[in-house]
């Protein structure tokens, strides 16, 4: 295909995505290709190989895109084995790292990295807290950062003299280790960036241009641990709310430059702890939704398109989460009732999802086709829908089922 044809294909696909975000009816429903390690099976690679060899990962991902011809792809590749190993990153176990099998996906371990009485430290100086406390706890190689001078504590000649810290041989050795990790990671990131640009030049828009979190999830996933954050709802309510407001500003600051670098305005926001059953409707409305809503609206105000992945079942949240500007963002649902979602959100938010992992892994192409047909015809009716797996394409999905899913958007009119 010529560059001109590719450009036309890119524009056509991007318009299809943007029109659906704007809740307009399009010629057909768009299909999104989003996966972690699924493509490995196209060449019989292990997940460990994918984690440690970004070039193989890219090669097989390109093959998947050429095969599926999606309307958008994700350039989130997880080839960070050398980085994780080099950092001695503690809360993650990953294929090739020696603690899970070569064909098991990476797993994040829920644990506490910030104690309940450290909220004031975080709120007073988040960067200082990260450098001196959080990062050294998170990864062995970051212990060196804990030795950085506390610059804001110094003035005049003290500030100049604090440079002596850089002469410490232990600090220098630690920084050398970090530089080595940096080299490996820069290579990985450079290759991923090239891959994204190449795929966009080949006609495929990128569906993950930036990344953000719900502030509650930041504290639950990465700082306090799920148990700590839940207890904070009772024992440290004011501090949790104040810290989340601070974290929101920091989280959002990073998004716009990334979307400009990657040349895609879609921002991926995967959610973990706001689903039905985990917290009460009142807790959701107090601790989860207000800050998340500010993230969504803030990103929209930056001219970006938030794509919020509501993991689990969030059916009971629909009436609350409809409160966002119409035609500006995407809600991707895993096991939320899609038909109810269409009913409640249809005039406000573009819906994405939710071909079940169970069908893609254990079902047949006919099962997959039947599920996609119903989604396209009911949820896709009138526009405002993108077809995707419930959490993208699961690693163990059968190739023929994924093909059936990709083809369904061309078979059935919405």
């Amino acid at each position: 295909m010529t560059d001109t044809n590719n450009k036309a294909a890119y524009d056509e696909r991007l318009k299809r995505l943007e029109d659906n975000v704007a809740l307009k009816e399009t010629d057909r429903v768009p299909f999104i290709y989003f996966s972690t390690f699924w493509a490995a099976r196209l060449q019989g690679l292990t997940f460990a190989q994918m984690m440690y060899d970004v070039d193989k990962y890219i090669g097989v991902s390109k093959q998947a895109i050429a095969m599926l011809q999606p309307d958008a792809f994700s350039s989130l590749l997880f080839a960070f084995g050398p980085t994780l190993g080099g950092l001695n990153y503690r809360p993650m176990k990953w294929p090739g790292g020696g603690e899970v099998g070569d064909m098991a996906t990476f797993q994040y371990l829920d644990q506490e990295f910030m104690t309940a009485d450290e909220y004031d430290d975080y709120i007073f100086d988040p960067t200082g807290f990260y450098l001196h406390k959080y990062l050294p706890r998170l990864a062995g190689a970051y212990e060196t950062l804990g030795q950085l001078p506390d610059f804001a504590a110094f003035a005049e000649w003290d500030l100049i003299a604090s440079a002596a810290g850089f002469g410490n041989p232990a600090f220098q050795a630690g920084m050398k280790r970090l530089f080595e990790v940096g080299d490996k990671t820069a290579y990985t990131m450079g290759q991923i960036l090239n891959y994204g640009n190449e795929m966009m030049a080949a006609g495929y828009p990128m569906i993950v241009g930036g990344f953000c979190k719900a502030p509650y999830d930041l504290f639950s996933d990465f700082l306090r641990g799920s148990k700590g954050a839940m207890m904070d709802m009772f024992r440290n309510k004011g501090r949790l709310i104040e810290a989340m407001a601070k974290a929101r500003v920091l989280l959002m600051r990073h998004v716009k430059p990334t979307t400009e670098l990657l040349n895609s305005k879609f921002v991926f926001i995967p959610l973990h702890w706001g689903l039905d059953g985990f917290m009460s409707p009142a807790q959701f409305k107090t601790f989860y939704w207000p800050e998340l809503r500010k993230v969504i609206i803030g990103l929209i105000d930056m001219g970006l398109t938030p794509c919020v992945l509501w993991e689990g079942n969030c059916t009971s949240r629909l009436e609350t989460i409809v409160d966002v500007p119409a035609g500006k963002c995407v809600y991707w649902f895993e096991s939320t009732d899609m038909f109810k979602a269409k009913e409640v959100l249809g005039g406000t938010v573009c819906i994405r999802g939710n071909v079940p992992t169970s069908i893609l892994i254990t079902g047949t192409p006919d099962d997959t086709d039947a599920y996609c047909k119903k989604l396209i015809q009911v949820v896709g009716k009138g526009g405002g829908f993108m077809l995707d797996g419930s959490i993208g394409i699961p690693d163990e999905a059968k190739v023929e089922n994924v093909m059936a899913m990709a083809q369904s958007v061309r078979k059935y009119a919405n």
Binding site: T105, Q107, D110, K227, T357
Partner: protein, 218 residues
């Protein structure tokens, strides 16, 4: 029940951990039987479980009341002697639970274990990433009525299936009911694994066990 006994139950159910811990300290100072305090805690947890079942409480309340209980136990347990307490509460039946091979997630499993315990079942929890052979071996020793297989990742589908196959191959399948649970489990996976039932939350697991063991009381 004494006023203080009722007050302790109310404080635990109201999620007032410092209040509950203070009261227990005072009760112990006044010479209250530590076994009585544990019995009061159990009554409070029955109410917490009931409210969870009715949709008034959610996971945060379970976590918080569990933590309150831990803090009270730390005060009470050093004072326990073998002579007190009276007969242990009879259990409805035995449940063996674990997260299947390859999967390290345990939050859902722990909630199910907690609710099973609160609802009067004897639960043995094998932890996470449990090999098929470990389930088989423990079924032989522990003789559970129900086996609960938990998993969060999609790789758990195959692990659940192979665990159930291993139970069948060992000739033990007729002796146990098997329930599966976790974020990705549905009717399709029930058929795929040939388990007896699946549940989407802790209360469904409790209801399944009650039905299978013929437990009528809540």
């Amino acid at each position: 029940m004494s006023d203080k006994g009722q007050e302790l139950i109310d404080l635990i159910v109201a999620m007032d951990t410092p209040g509950a811990v203070d009261l227990v300290t005072r009760m112990l100072d006044e010479g209250t039987d530590p076994f009585k305090i544990l019995a009061l805690c159990r009554s409070a947890m029955d109410i917490v479980g009931q409210k969870f079942e009715e949709g008034e409480f959610f996971v945060p309340e379970l976590i918080l009341s569990g933590d309150t209980l831990e803090q009270i136990s730390a005060l009470v347990k050093p004072l326990l002697t073998d002579t007190g307490g009276g007969p242990a509460r009879a259990k409805h039946g035995k449940v063996l639970i674990g997260t299947v091979s390859g999967d390290l997630h345990d939050i859902g499993k722990n909630i199910v274990t907690f609710m099973m315990d609160v609802n009067g079942f004897e639960v043995k929890d094998l932890g996470v990433d449990v090999p098929q052979s470990k389930f088989v071996e423990t079924i032989r020793e522990f003789k559970p009525d129900v086996v609960g297989l938990s998993g969060f990742l999609t790789l758990a589908y195959d692990s659940m299936k192979s665990t159930i196959d291993a139970i069948s191959d060992a000739g033990l399948r007729d002796q146990v009911k098997v329930m599966i649970g976790g974020g990705q489990v549905d009717d399709t996976i029930l058929k795929f694994t040939r388990a007896d039932a699946f549940g989407l939350n802790a209360m469904e697991a409790v209801r399944l066990c009650r039905d299978w063991m013929g437990v009528t009381e809540a």
